[in-house]
């Protein structure tokens, strides 16, 4: 952004400028999403009211519902109604459920958030030890076969789509071994398979990034310096290696988090988890415009929010990157 120097002079702190810029960027992205969600849904062929009521519904009923939902108004009026509704926190009424969209979302959002956050934590907690351990063991070409095996398995996990993995998990752990219920939501044991299916790919991806970054850092001269201080290995990795891969790992973590939020759509559908992910699928098949708009908006907010959090975390952990950008 061209105004950065002027802004920096006015505000004083380059870090604050960075935060303001990122916030501004998020607001612009959100505006684009708002507009495109509205028009994308309008251009999908088919009649939502007919889809909701069925082809045999009497014309009077159809027209009544049409009027009630406001879909008979001109597009411009509909758009301004949509915007003013948004400003009042009103996302409209679902065509199929005949209930306010905000209420439906607030019922189901906590489930999706829980699933995504738990899966993200599992991915991060799994990825760091795995990436560090494999990098340390593979350093300067040692344990070639082990390294090849581990990176092969991780590569497969990255490549397999989560819905396929979900089916595999159900077939083996649930139907095969009977260890976990194949679907549902509510008890911890029901959460195991969805979380696993959602977390495995991101974890493998993050572990690869940590592995590569760790290998790079282990070869740097300052790690040689640290070794010549006769630091125990634990301190060497915790104090000198890990802090220096955090910026890269966090950036990758942001990508993973965004992918993970999107991944909930399929995983929730496979495991019939009552979150907004399974809702988006049913709302699209039913052409439930207000509901689609609401769900997509929430997803966009989640993705933008995740990106913003990662950017701010980066700015705090790595002041150099923030100042370089600003």
């Amino acid at each position: 952004m061209t105004t950065a120097p002027a802004l920096a002079a006015a505000v004083g702190s380059p870090r604050l400028v960075f935060v303001l810029q990122r916030l501004g960027r998020a607001v612009i992205s959100l505006a684009v999403v708002l507009v495109s969600v509205f028009f994308m849904v309008q251009f999908v062929p088919g009649d939502p009211v007919r889809a909701a009521l069925g082809p045999t519904a009497p014309l009077a009923t159809v027209n009544a519902l049409r009027e009630q939902l406001g879909v008979d108004l001109p597009l411009g009026t509909q758009f301004s109604n949509y915007l003013s509704g948004l400003l009042h926190g009103d996302l409209g009424t679902s065509v199929t459920a005949q209930r306010p969209v905000t209420g439906m979302l607030s019922e189901r959002l906590p489930t999706t958030l829980t699933l995504a956050v738990v899966a993200f934590l599992v991915a991060v907690v799994g990825a760091f030890p795995l990436g560090v351990a494999t990098a340390v063991s593979a350093r300067s070409g040692r344990h070639r076969l082990l390294d090849l095996g581990v990176s092969g398995v991780l590569g497969v996990l990255v490549a397999v789509p989560n819905f396929l993995l979900a089916v595999l998990l159900i077939a083996t752990l649930s139907i095969g071994l009977g260890a976990f219920p194949p679907a549902g939501w509510g008890t911890p044991s029901e959460a195991v398979l969805p979380v696993l299916a959602l977390a495995a790919g991101p974890m493998a991806y993050l572990a690869r990034i940590v592995h590569v970054e760790m290998l790079r850092v282990l070869e740097t001269p300052y790690l040689t310096t640290a070794r010549s201080k006769r630091l125990p290995g634990r301190l060497l990795y915790l104090r000198h290696a890990l802090p220096n891969i955090v910026a890269a790992a966090l950036t990758a973590g942001g990508v993973v988090l965004v992918g993970l939020v999107a991944g909930t759509v399929l995983v929730e559908t496979v495991f019939t988890v009552p979150g907004i992910g399974s809702m988006i699928v049913s709302s699209i098949t039913a052409k439930d415009y207000p509901l689609i708009q609401g769900v997509v908006l929430v997803y966009a907010l989640l993705v933008l929010g995740a990106n913003l959090v990662i950017d701010l975390a980066l700015a705090i952990l790595d002041p150099r990157s923030a100042i370089a950008e600003a």
Partner: protein, 252 residues
């Protein structure tokens, strides 16, 4: 007393012999300058002494005792690139304080702070800047911090591997004077590696010349550099540019 002896040390990388039965003596309390072109094996010799490279044959002894993991901390090395040798995320004072661990004794918090302050003063860095990260220091300052870091381990021998080649000429002088001063004050034994003969002459009592992994000449600085016995040393001397005189490089 701390005499460092390289006894017929050989290092091989695959089929390539990087160091071929090199023997050197760094006399106690003196500086040995090790010169040679790039790839002559001088850095490899140094890396063997601190354990970064394994010798295929021969041994390195400190006062008669073979250097191994147990006693290797008494040989400390300062590396070529001061920009890369310090952890960019760690305050320099902490980096130096960690060096104290290598002494093998336990330091209380107050002792540690006092010692770090002392070390930073020794290398003429303002101790009040101990909390700053390396990026805030210039190349020459950073090199002096890495020297403080090495001295924190209380080494008997300091190995300086091309420590001035990444620095500006004006800053080189500061670092070289510091080394001479430190050596006088702490009666350090020092192995000083450089391809720059002028720099080597300035700090060294003895000089050894290396070529293709072999030591071709070894003796007191004045003897070797004023009256070189080996043809290669003469060639090295002739390749030093002198202001106002054309370079004579016809056999180079």
């Amino acid at each position: 007393m701390s005499e460092l002896v390289f006894d017929r040390v050989s290092v091989r990388f695959g089929a390539h012999t990087a160091v071929d039965e090199a023997s050197l003596v760094v006399r106690s309390g003196t500086t040995l300058g090790l010169v040679g072109e790039s790839g002559s094996g001088k850095s490899t010799v140094a890396r063997v002494a601190v354990g970064l490279e394994k010798a295929a044959g021969g041994s390195v002894r400190l006062d008669g005792a073979v250097l191994e993991r147990r006693n290797r901390r008494s040989v400390q090395m300062v590396f070529q690139d001061p920009l890369a040798a310090l952890d960019p995320r760690m305050p320099v004072g902490t980096s130096v304080a960690e060096g104290l661990l290598a002494t093998g004794r336990r330091w209380s918090g107050a002792e540690r702070r006092a010692r770090v302050q002392e070390l930073l003063e020794l290398v003429h860095i303002d101790p009040s800047r101990a909390g700053e990260r390396p990026a805030r220091f210039s190349g020459g300052q950073r090199q002096r911090i890495t020297i403080a870091r090495a001295l924190a381990a209380q080494p008997a021998v300091l190995i300086a591997d091309e420590i001035t080649s990444a620095l500006d000429v004006s800053v080189q002088g500061v670092v070289l004077n510091l080394l001479r001063e430190l050596q006088r004050e702490l009666s350090l034994t020092m192995l000083f590696i450089s391809h720059n003969l002028a720099v080597v002459r300035y700090v060294s009592d003895d000089v050894a010349v290396m070529r293709n992994g072999r030591i071709v000449e070894h003796g007191p600085t004045d003897t070797v550099l004023d009256d070189p016995a080996d043809a290669y040393t003469r060639e090295l001397l002739r390749s030093i540019p002198v202001m106002g005189r054309p370079l004579d490089l016809k056999d180079a």
